[in-house]
């Protein structure tokens, strides 16, 4: 029986010729990552188990991104614990304020991830098992997996004006639901992929989890190679699915059908065309996060905001995801455009994405945000609302004060 891309990568890391979905395997890891919230839990596990070595000081990565620069004493204490640990074990990839960026944006940018590699990250929502696993994985460099089955997403057609990877993934989640890919891989394919930039693909893969998926994965093509050329110097292997790979189902996505899309509260699957939000008055826009804080996202926002000002009563919060995106925004003049439009530009941080700091919402407030989750209370008060959108839609909505399709303001 043939294997999917994900199955091939897992088989390679388990030292097996073949794996099938449902099989339990033990796989070597290329990278283990934690952030300022999950690393302390993992460090506690690591220390209480009495380990005194990490498996590879180059392959344990810690990024201080969620509540940094520290918003309170608790977060300061957590970061300090990470800092001490990183120093003690000589971690080569410890990213603190001044050089950090949001983990999922930073790692690809720094070339720390490459095709065919197996990486685990302790994610804030899975910290109970993530912590034990990450604590264990930091010591051992391997962990166990249940090999996932897969859904193939076949992309065809051409992107419409203003449409980006964010619109595609919101549309897809709207179609299959937040548990549409539960525990499975979402494997993308089709001639439509050439329409998707690396930023589009990173956004899409980032939100695969919002459809319940274990991972989202794209085949390597020229666009990928171009992205990797400057960033990854070590050797890597591209894995393509076998002709006979088994998919539980195939979802057809025609780009011609997809227009700018917004997910209404309180689930990412509540996706509707942006044009239906004309009467929804908003108080804030947030442009940033691991989903949409890359330079292409900043560019999309700047192109819309240029020469405009936010509507009265709307706050605009722009957060480049990494230090280098921040610097590019200055060089390319985007920061001036944002400031002229009445926005603020923050140092990289997760901040408002998880209701941490830098833009928490009060009761009754509404925000159009380029982040990835719009659960109850995600960005602040349980009576606040988050509408998920692309940077272009968020920017356009900031200008009018209502959810707006970008074509209305250009």
């Amino acid at each position: 029986m043939g294997m999917t891309m994900t199955q091939k990568i897992l088989a390679r890391h388990a030292g097996l010729d073949e794996v099938h979905s449902g099989q339990l395997i033990q796989a070597k890891l290329d990278l283990v990552m934690g952030n300022d919230i999950t690393s302390p839990v993992a460090i506690n596990e690591f220390e209480s188990a009495g380990f005194n070595e990490v498996f590879d000081s180059k392959k344990v990565v810690m990024v201080m991104d969620h509540f940094t620069p520290n918003k309170d004493i608790k977060s300061a204490t957590q970061c300090k614990q990470c800092r001490v640990f990183a120093k003690r074990f000589g971690l080569k990839n410890f990213f603190d304020v001044g050089e950090m960026g949001i983990e999922h944006a930073l790692l690809p940018e720094k070339g720390l991830v490459a095709p065919g590699e197996a990486i685990i990250g302790a994610d804030s929502h899975t910290c109970t098992y993530g912590a034990v696993n990450a604590g264990a994985a930091m010591a051992a460099g391997y962990t166990w997996f249940k090999v996932p089955a897969a859904i193939r997403v076949n992309v065809t057609g051409k992107k419409k004006n203003f449409v980006s990877g964010k619109d595609l993934i919101l549309y897809l989640i709207g179609k299959i639901g937040v548990d549409g890919a539960l525990y499975k891989s979402l494997e993308f394919s089709g001639e439509g992929l050439k329409e998707l930039t690396m930023s589009d693909r990173l956004t899409i893969a980032n939100m695969a989890i919002e459809a319940g998926a274990k991972n989202g994965i794209f085949p390597v093509d020229d666009i990928t190679r171009e992205f990797l050329r400057e960033r990854v110097k070590r050797e890597w292997t591209a894995y393509y699915p076998d002709e006979s790979a088994e998919y539980e189902s195939v979802v057809e996505l025609d780009l011609n059908d997809i227009d700018c899309t917004v997910s209404w509260p309180h689930l990412p699957e509540n996706a509707k065309p942006a044009a239906e939000g004309k009467n929804i008055k908003i108080d804030q826009i947030v442009i940033g996060s691991c989903t949409n804080g890359r330079i292409d996202d900043m560019k999309a926002a700047a192109e819309i905001l240029k020469g405009h000002h936010l509507a009265e009563g709307v706050r605009g919060i722009i957060i480049p995801a990494t230090q280098s995106v921040y610097r590019e925004c200055i060089k390319l003049g985007y920061v001036d455009i944002f400031l002229d439009a009445g926005c603020i530009v923050s140092t990289p941080t997760c901040g408002p994405c998880l209701g941490g700091h830098m833009g928490v919402l009060a009761a009754g407030e509404r925000c159009v945000s380029t982040t990835n989750r719009n659960f109850v209370g995600r960005m602040g008060h349980i009576d606040s609302e988050v509408y998920l959108a692309s940077p272009a839609v968020a920017a356009a909505s900031g200008i009018t004060g209502f959810i707006t399709h970008p074509k209305e303001v250009i």
Partner: protein
Amino acid sequence: MRAHKYGDHVDTDVIIPARYLASQDEKELASHCMEDIDKNFHAKVKTGDIIVAGLNFGCGSSREHAPVAIKASGISCVIAKSFARIFYRNAINIGLAILECPEAAENISDNDEVSINFDTGEIKDLTQNKIYQAEPFPEFIKNMINEGGLMASLKHNLKKGD
């Protein structure tokens, strides 16, 4: 070993109600295990017994207390039609044996006498005289469960200089 049978979607709030989560004590957790759907669970379970359940066992919050409470109750294995993903991971990490076998989960009745061969994955219902086949655990998972879970087994292996 005797089977204790439950339905679909047994969630972690039922397995160990949130009001007892402040406790880290396994015995204390075990004494409240399943009490909201089966008041007598703690009293009737004998060491080595198994739980048989339907779909999506262990859904809900990701608390590790749930498999800990089950294991500390003396349950030697949970057989279900399917498990919630985080429960699955937590159970194996803390060393609780779990088997996915829809046929066995459907047909085994409450109080049936059951035996399980973990090497072959064979589940025998001695009361009904029926045999079911689950996928056996690979060697490393078996070792992990025998050694008391992920952390314990890792400590064991890393000390060996693995």
